[in-house]
């Protein structure tokens, strides 16, 4: 009856958001008087998996098959469904991210489970099994009640604060026989973005829009991002005119992000842009136009020319870091 949680890792390093998923699972396990079984797929060292105990997993099931180092959603599904059946699990948890979104619905279909995509709360058991999620691109929230016996939850990353315990997990190795169709998709080339912080995982983001005037000024955005340890993003016009790559575009038709801090520079704040960033915990807007609609959605605002404000802000961050070390 354990709560099953899928753990993601990059080249053997467990992602922070997966620790968050394990901690989330542990809380639900406590609510439902059971334990957490974390599932880790692919090549990873035992020492790394032991850390899952610190976030509430009591057991780790490791399937070391190195074909699982890449996302093969049907193979991941086979693994999770096998384990869920063996443990008679009623709750299966993944993240609401690229991997989770490819796997969780398949698991749900096989187990006839209702899905919550992008959970923002623990289940309210007094109302059944109701979980809060964002709808209408952040303009409202819905409480989704899962009616089926088995439940599949995709947790929105960066929703809960991590807190480490001294808990321990036992590691169990398993082999699962996969079928050919579990690996039906052949990966012919991989282009990992290295040396920069992945936008979807970033807790701090600096983003630029048309107000940056041209690609020659983008260095100012990068300077601030580097000083903060932040990822960079952009608005749609910037991506459409190819100043910046499409994967940096956030907004209705680009990516959706929910960082702790979103600094928007020279972005007017059209509703389509807000749809991609309104889950950010704190929003800072820097814009020369005091009437820019983005100021209404911001926590902090600076009215001024980006080219003048950015170097000052970067310098202030640098000074702050020197004082706090």
């Amino acid at each position: 009856m354990s709560v099953i949680v899928l753990v993601e890792h990059t080249g053997g390093n467990i992602k922070k958001k997966s620790f968050e998923a394990v901690q989330y699972a542990a809380q639900i396990a406590q609510q439902t008087a059971t334990t957490v079984t974390a599932v880790v797929l692919g090549s990873i060292a035992d020492a790394e998996m032991e850390a899952l105990g610190n976030y509430g997993a009591s057991k780790v099931i490791h399937i070391a098959d190195n074909r699982l180092d890449e996302l093969h959603a049907r193979a991941y599904t086979t693994a999770l469904v096998n384990i869920a059946r063996a443990e008679d699990s009623k709750i299966i948890i993944t993240l609401y991210d690229i991997n989770g979104r490819a796997v969780a619905p398949r698991v749900a279909a096989q187990l006839k489970a209702g899905i919550v995509a992008g959970a923002l709360s623990y289940p309210n058991l007094e109302k059944g099994f109701a979980i809060k999620k964002s709808v209408f691109s952040g303009k409202a929230f819905a409480w989704v009640n899962v009616l089926s016996d088995v439940k599949v939850i995709m947790l929105m990353p960066n929703t809960f604060q991590l807190s480490k315990t001294d808990g321990k997990a036992t590691i169990e190795k398993q082999d699962i026989s996969f079928s050919e169709k579990d690996f039906g998709i052949k990966v012919t080339a991989v282009n990992k973005v290295t040396g920069e912080i992945a936008l979807t995982d970033a807790t701090l983001v600096v983003s630029g829009g048309r107000g940056m005037k041209g690609p020659e000024n983008w260095g100012l955005i990068e300077d601030l991002a580097k000083e903060l340890g932040a990822a960079t993003a952009c608005s749609r016009p910037v991506a459409d005119t190819h100043w910046r790559p499409h994967h940096e575009h956030v907004g209705q038709t680009g990516g959706t992000i929910r960082p702790d801090l979103y600094i928007a520079v020279g972005i007017s704040g059209a509703i389509q842009h807000l749809a991609g960033v309104n889950g950010s915990k704190t929003i800072v807007v820097i814009n020369s136009d005091p009437e820019a609609p983005f100021f209404k959605a911001a926590n902090y605002g600076v009215v001024g020319d980006a080219m003048a404000v950015l170097p000052k802000l970067t310098a202030a961050v640098k000074k702050f870091k020197e004082q706090h070390h």
């Binding site: 690229i98 979104r101 899905i115 209408f136 819905a142 052949k186 012919t188 080339a189 926590n299 706090h324």
Partner: protein, 247 residues
């Protein structure tokens, strides 16, 4: 090659969300509905491009909804598409929606199913994957380009921390996002032609939903922006540290 494009109708992006019935429903009075942008701009337009280049022979559109969504489907037909199928049901449970579409699709012989990466109303992004599972097909999500070479789909997709190129035998379900195609607007010829293209209505299969929405909430109003002088960035940094606790 026959392509099926899944179309969802959604409230226009600029719609203000108003709750009713003790916060258990959305007030749809005065709401303008549009084709879900990911379905339209990327999935449908890419299907049209594949037909224009002679790779696809036929494009069908499928949607789940009551008769009041037909104007949106006609608009999709005006962009392109030979025939539309409306499954006559209302559903906001992804599993139920996927079963409706899968039951229709099973015997219809499509080589490629395209959908948007998610709909902008319930933001689940689950229907396409569920459909693939129910049809025992492969699924590629977050696609940024889709090419067809013979019986194989060559797809670039976003992965965690980068991009990869995949190849996969047809039939396959592909969920499209930015990059797959460029948005188009329907021309007068398309709009006229769409009026006469078949729009079939079929009855949904019997399937009970696995989820239900109990209630809605609106986000708390923003407390208002705190303006900081452009000459005092030290103060902004201090506020971000002590008040917002984000750095």
């Amino acid at each position: 090659m026959k392509i099926l494009v899944c179309i969802s109708q959604v409230p226009d992006t600029t719609t203000k969300i108003i709750l009713k019935d003790n916060d258990t429903a959305i007030n749809s009075q005065g709401t303008t509905y549009i084709i879900n942008p990911y379905d339209e701009w990327y999935a449908l337009v890419r299907a049209i491009e594949l037909k224009e280049s002679g790779i696809a022979t036929e494009i069908h559109l499928v949607t789940v909804g009551k008769a009041d969504i037909e104007p949106v489907i006609r608009k999709a037909l005006a962009l392109g598409g030979d025939e539309a199928i409306r499954i006559d049901a209302e559903s906001i449970d992804p599993y139920q929606t996927a079963v409706y579409i899968a039951d229709y699709t099973k015997s219809a012989g499509y080589d490629l199913v395209l959908c948007g990466k998610e709909s902008i109303d319930y933001n689940n992004g689950t229907t396409g994957v569920l459909l693939a599972e129910l049809l025992d097909m492969d699924y590629i999500g977050f696609a940024t380009s889709v090419k067809i070479e013979g019986n194989v789909a060559i797809v670039n997709r976003e992965i965690e921390g980068g991009e990869e190129t995949d190849s996969c035998n047809l039939p396959v379900v592909i969920a499209c996002q930015k990059g797959v195609a460029e948005a188009r607007i329907p021309n007068m010829r398309g709009i006229m032609a769409a009026r006469t293209r078949p729009l079939k209505v079929i009855a949904p299969s019997a399937i009970t939903p696995l989820t239900a929405i109990l209630s809605y909430e609106l986000p708390p109003a923003k407390a208002g922006v705190k303006l900081v002088s452009a000459d005092n960035m030290d103060e902004l940094v201090a506020l971000l540290h002590t008040e917002a606790k984000s750095i």
